[in-house]
Amino acid sequence: MLGLFGTLSMANRSLQTQRNGTEVAGHNLANVNTPGYSRQRVAIETSITIPSDIGPQGTGADAVAIVQLRDKLLDKHIVSETSVRSAYEGRQRALEFAQAALGQAIDRQANGAEGSAAASGVGGQHGIAEDLSALFASFQSLSTNPTSSAERQVLVIKAQNLATQFNQVASRFDDLRGTLNESVSSDVDQANIALSDIAKLNDQIITAELGTDAKANDLRDVRQKRIEDLAKLVHIDTVENSNGGVDISIDGSQLVSGRNVLDTLEAYDAGGGQYLVRTLAGGTTLTLTGGTIQGTIDARDNDLVQIRSDIDNLATRLITSVNAVHANGYGLGGTTGEAFFTGTNASDIGFNQNLADDPSRIQASGVSGSVGDNTVVLQLAQLADAKQAGLGNQTFLENYGQTVSKLGQYLNGLNTQLGNQDIVEQMLLRQRDSVSGVSLDEEMTDLVKFQRAFEASARLITTVDEMLQTVVNLKR
């Protein structure tokens, strides 16, 4: 038998238990909008029974633990899918930059049916395609009037525009490579901070849970959030140890072991401005399989290299083809053998300054002394339709169209993949929210439940107190 004092003690424990329940509900309510927070529940168990004449008698209830509702399998999935999504996002961002760098768009309102500016100077298309077309149109125009200084001047401007356009696109792509390298470096710095934070949190969790079954729930939440932050940057493998610490490895290299950061990441120049990632102390080059760092590296080393090389190849073929024809011609003053374009690729292509200074030196004629001859400029104009062996048997414009389309396909495919990945991630997050998220209704109901139980326990104390009063008063 508990006796009156035993019952009083039971009521007291009950008060504590119900208060614990209220506190946990309050904690949940306070963290309803905290990112990464998983709801907690107070685990209440019936206290030990004691034998009595009438059989085992209950002694109330105790709060034995505060349990965190978290699905570890879901967490692992989310970490993994986060890396996949971030890799797509990193690549998408790089390709969107590339699309802007190429500057090729369709503006049908600013351009009339003949591709001429219908609303000149307001918007319009100003990509390599338009400048290439304009150059060949100028060759055509000059072929109809080879001695015209006006046509020659127009040709000079169109050729200079094309060369400048190539230079700008090449320079934007070079700058983009630099920007992406900076992004890799900055992401690596962020990853190192996350690794250090995870090790510190491991330390706090191990210390808090040492010698007890209780879990450091809130610290675990924060750690999970940091693990997901890290997974956005780079694909990681995690292993949870029995002491509560989580080990982190990237591409087989262990970087965090419990409380210690064994190694950190370093972005290094593998040559030619190609920033890759390796472990700082071990010097092991890492092959990354997810995260923004990998997405950025992928776009930089595959997609952008391909596009940049296509543009360079186009410029190189244009320079050699045009120069080979032009060199055989004669200027109005009989000059010959001059190059039309200078340079060797998209970065350094330029229009021959001698011709720009004196457009009469443009070698349109194929016969020395025959200024009205247009055979060379006609051949130059006809290059527009010539299939170039070095460009996959395509014309210059077809080849450029293919490059634009290729970039579009990379980006379009990526947008679709990212859309699909969004759905996967949203489903997983919803599932996690369903398990770990705080429900205001539930917490309010719990509050009412625990409040009522608290009131009832208090009433028990009052009742026992009155009973004790009665017992004490028996003596009078």
Binding site: A129, A137, N145, S370, V404, G437, V438
Partner: protein, 310 residues
């Protein structure tokens, strides 16, 4: 599935985000009238549009080339017409020579001299700074006239060549509206004033007529000059016909170019342009969905158990 406090806001954010993206895309389509603006919108259509725009630009340039040829052909025709009238006058003098009195012959000779000078002046016509009938030596006047002290024409020298500058009026199709003043090479375009394939040599035949009038050699005029001038007349008529044929070909090529541009415009429109009716209907649908999402979320998010607890 258990629904928590953040399920609604998170789902709402996802829905609003995707609806906003759709609205943005549809609004862009409605404002620009285009389905495709950037390569990522539709890479295949982008490629086709770029190819078609390149062709459109080339065809537009061919049309401008044709207009330039037409201008040249019209200028050439004007010159041929004037030369024809000189030829007519010379022919009349040659025919009348037999009936003329000996003292009047030098007067007609003087007239023929003027006709020769006029013909040379016409043959040396310039268009946009280039001599029309010098072939590709277009910086040189085709004919240089030499006269003696009395102003009698003693000879003409052709400084041009027999080459025509051809340029494209369609892909791979070249044409020239140019006519060389002389072509005694036996090949190539027929010379306007002289061509030994048909025995034409207008200026020299006029000089012969002038000389024969001066010397009173009516027999030569009747036996040789009349026939020679007739060959020149025929040659000029040939050029009138040739010029008409070229103008007609240019006209039909221009019409073809315009048709091609129209059809390319239609094809580009098919690839790149948005169906405005469809776009606006879709935009309306999306806007309705957006408003519905906001309104329903507003109701759900605004109420909880708290509203019913005291």
């Amino acid at each position: 599935m258990r629904v928590t406090a953040n399920t609604f806001p998170n789902a709402l954010l996802d829905q609003l985000s995707s609806l906003s993206q759709r609205q943005n895309k549809l609004q862009n389509q409605a404002a620009t009238g285009q389905l495709v603006t950037l390569p990522e919108d539709d890479p295949v259509a982008m490629r086709r549009v770029l190819d078609m725009q390149a062709e459109n630009s080339a065809v537009g340039q061919y049309a401008r080339n044709i207009e330039r040829h037409q201008e040249l052909a019209a200028a050439t025709y004007d010159s041929i017409k004037s030369l024809k009238s000189i030829s007519d006058k010379a022919g009349e003098i040659a025919i009348a020579a037999g009936d003329l009195s000996a003292p009047s012959l030098p007067i007609y000779a003087k007239q023929v001299t003027e006709l020769i000078k006029q013909a040379v002046q016409i043959a040396n016509t310039k268009n946009r700074g280039d001599y029309l009938f010098s072939g590709t030596n277009s910086n040189l006047p085709p004919y240089v006239l030499t006269t003696d002290v009395n102003g009698v024409v003693t000879g003409v020298t052709y400084q041009g060549n027999t080459t025509e500058a051809e340029s494209e009026i369609a892909s791979g199709i070249t044409i020239s509206a140019q006519v060389p003043g002389e072509n005694n090479s036996g090949t190539g375009a027929r010379g306007l004033l002289a061509d030994d394939r048909v025995g034409a040599d207008f200026l020299n035949h006029l000089i012969d007529l002038q000389n024969h009038l001066l010397s009173g050699d009516v027999t030569s005029i009747e036996n040789n000059d009349r026939a020679a001038l007739q060959r020149d007349e025929d040659n000029l008529l040939y050029h009138v016909g040739q010029n008409g044929a070229i103008q007609s070909r240019l006209e039909s090529s221009l019409s073809l170019s315009n048709q091609r541009m129209d059809s390319l415009e239609k094809m580009v429109s098919k690839e790149a342009d948005a169906d405005l009716t469809q776009t606006i209907v879709r935009l309306n649908q999306t806007q309705t969905a957006y408003q519905a999402a906001l309104k329903s979320a507003g109701r759900i998010l605004g109420s909880s158990l708290l509203d019913y607890m005291q």
